[in-house]
């Protein structure tokens, strides 16, 4: 930890202050490059806290994608591999199979996981690889400048859908998480978000479960995190979170989809598969 910060902290403690909140040691000192208000920072922190709390920092191997979180390896103080675009699940498959005592997680965005890497995602899930996949879905390609993602909503504007996504032209938004829940190889499939403290708490519990599941060796654990992309959506962070709640969540409902290898209570499988997407105004 930065020595100045540590010294200042010691001073404050001497003055009678009490430490109520601190950065987890599983994150490094590196300053994150993410846009203010983006969900990546929070999601990174949750993953790091979970690794710390379970006490597996020395057993974790992370796999970062190509996209906004390409530099994730600089922020986590664990061993890390940077994969080619979309290939993180294949990379993680081999890490885990050759090192079964490690805890392996992938961290990918919607373009990486649900477009170019669709085959690797589905086959890793279908083989029931004993890994944790974190999927950050913001409905847009953030890094390359806001182009359409497979998860871009119908009507949603992007650099490559300047008049809004059209089904006849671009097809439907891809609900990868629901799709994966239908495969017998997945053990835990959930969708969470990180736009407010209550959501953050639930997301953290889900991430923790997804990591702890690796001890059970029963299949793949998959956590989708809905996030805003305020830069790509061209909104303030506050507006973006509101827009996410109003538009993303009806299309991508929050909650567990599959728990302990079974479709979660209250989830209608037919609706998962058949529901048509809602059109949004932007």
């Amino acid at each position: 930890m930065n020595q100045d910060i540590e010294a200042r902290k010691q001073e404050l403690l001497k003055e009678g202050y009490e430490e109520v909140y601190t950065r987890t040691k599983v994150l490094t000192d590196a300053v994150m490059h993410y846009c203010p208000g983006c969900g990546h920072g929070t999601t990174h922190r949750l993953v790091a806290e979970v690794i710390d709390e379970i006490g597996i920092q020395d057993q974790v191997v992370g796999v970062s994608p190509v996209g906004c979180s390409v530099l994730a390896y600089n922020y986590f103080d664990v061993d890390f591999q940077e994969a080619a675009h979309g290939r993180a699940p294949a990379v993680a498959t081999a890490v885990k199979r050759l090192n079964p005592d490690t805890f392996v997680f992938t961290y990918q965005g919607d373009g990486d996981l649900a477009a170019i890497g669709t085959a690797e995602t589905i086959h890793a899930a279908n083989r029931g690889e004993n890994i944790t996949m974190i999927f950050v879905n913001n409905g847009i390609y953030g890094m390359t400048g806001g182009q359409m993602a497979p998860t871009t909503l119908v009507g949603m504007k992007s650099a490559t859908t300047p008049y809004g996504r059209r089904v006849d032209l671009n097809g439907f938004p891809l609900r990868m998480t629901e799709l994966l829940a239908t495969l017998p190889g997945t053990y835990y499939v959930t969708r969470q978000s990180v736009q407010n403290p209550a959501a953050v708490r639930k997301a953290k519990a889900a991430i923790r479960k997804a990591f702890e599941n690796q001890k059970l060796k029963k299949g793949l654990s998959f956590v989708e995190i809905l996030s805003n992309c305020n830069s790509g959506w061209k909104m303030t962070p506050v507006q973006a979170n509101k827009w996410m709640e109003d538009n993303m969540m009806p299309n991508y409902p929050i909650g567990d989809i599959k728990v302990d290898g079974k479709i979660a209570e209250g989830i209608d499988v037919n609706r998962l598969v058949l529901d048509h997407p809602l059109t949004v105004q932007q």
Binding site: D79, E82, A90, V91, D101
Partner: protein, 360 residues
């Protein structure tokens, strides 16, 4: 070391050598004419003996990225494929080279372009030695010419791969892959212990102990100045390979007036053509390339200085000939003879080409 004599296909020899050399993992996807590699591994069940992991991936793209993931943990990980599949792997290969990950790739070549033919060819020379993917990188490339070399080169590949932290390519073709020959096998070497892995691959990502910084495997560098420094480091490594790791074989080159340059199965055909020529009283030698990268530039130039002409024999439209001409600075008459599309030249054709294109 116990040496056991067997009769075996080249592809099977590759698989058995992987097991015997203590390979930790193999990830592949079926494609003719090399499917016997994975079939042999699956039949041998090495996970029950040496503890080797074998997995059939969903594609060559996945296979090479599994190699990336597994090898980046400091283990010996391999894949094999044939030309169209190797094309799919090019992205992974440039990432492996860029992240300096030791690993083994076997290409049992077939004819192209496109889906092409399943019959033997040598038309992937450029792809193998001139960087099939993007960026400035090289694969250490070994070209076996017999089943015994298919076997032995797997052992050699691991030494080179870890010595230089570089991917190694064994560039074979359907003829050597499918051909059965006599083979001396070796006893199984045990896979590396945990301690050996940590000693041989201190850069590996297997979980960060409290007493070291986290290891990162990446080929990304956003700072151009630092990326240039890294590129120079890679070039230095390749230069060292050129200095120390060149391999070749010379037959009858001492008194030769003409030489044939060839590698892999073409060199076998050329050897027969050389014998036929010698029977006719023509002094022909054979310069066989064993490493394609690094290319035996100096050694070939020395031989070329004393001959009247060079015939390059390759099952392609003429790829290797470019390196031959560079090595000899075009100082001697040099011509290409090749068949392609899966057609294997006959020794008679090679001799005829030598007589018509070089000697005449």
């Amino acid at each position: 070391m116990a040496r056991e004599l067997q009769l075996m296909k080249g592809n099977e020899a590759i698989a058995r050598a992987m097991i015997a050399s203590g390979t930790d993992g193999y990830f592949g996807y079926p494609i003719t004419p090399q499917s016997e590699v994975m079939e042999t591994l699956m039949a041998e069940k090495p996970w029950e003996t040496t503890g080797m992991t074998v997995l059939q991936a969903e594609s060559e793209v996945a296979s090479i990225n599994m190699v990336y993931g597994g090898a980046a943990t400091g283990k010996k990980v391999a894949t094999s494929s044939s030309s169209p599949g190797i094309s799919l792997m090019q992205e992974g290969l440039t990432y492996l080279a860029g992240a300096e990950i030791p690993c083994l790739i076997v290409n049992v070549m077939r004819g192209g372009p496109g889906l092409g033919t399943i019959q033997p060819s040598q038309s992937d020379y450029f792809q193998s030695t001139k960087g099939g993917g993007h960026g400035d990188y090289q694969l250490y490339t070994l070209a076996p010419a017999s089943v015994q070399e298919m076997y032995d080169f797997v052992f050699d590949a691991w030494d080179i791969a870890f010595k230089y932290r570089n991917p190694v390519l064994i560039l074979s073709d359907g003829a050597i892959g499918q051909c059965m020959e006599k083979l001396y096998t070796r006893d199984n070497m045990p896979r590396w212990t945990e301690e050996e892995r940590r000693k041989n691959a201190p850069w590996g990502t297997w979980g960060k102990p409290a007493n070291r910084n986290h290891n990162i495997i990446t080929s990304l560098e956003l700072d151009s100045a630092r990326q240039e420094v890294f590129n120079l480091k890679l070039q230095k490594k390749y230069d060292e390979m050129k200095e120390k790791e060149v391999r070749y074989e010379m037959l009858n080159c001492e008194d030769a007036e003409y030489i044939i340059v060839a590698y892999g199965s073409s060199s076998r055909i050329a050897m027969k053509a050389m014998q036929m020529a010698r029977e006719k009283g023509i002094k022909v030698g054979l310069f066989r390339l064993i490493t394609l990268f690094p290319f035996p530039t100096k050694q070939l130039a020395e031989v070329a200085a004393h001959v009247k002409g060079i015939l390059c024999v390759e099952m392609s439209a003429g790829q290797m000939i470019e390196d031959v001409k560079l090595a000899t600075k075009c100082g001697v008459k040099t011509e290409h003879f090749g068949r392609f599309g899966g057609i294997i030249p006959t020794p008679g054709e090679v001799l005829e080409a030598l007589e018509n294109k070089i000697i005449k």
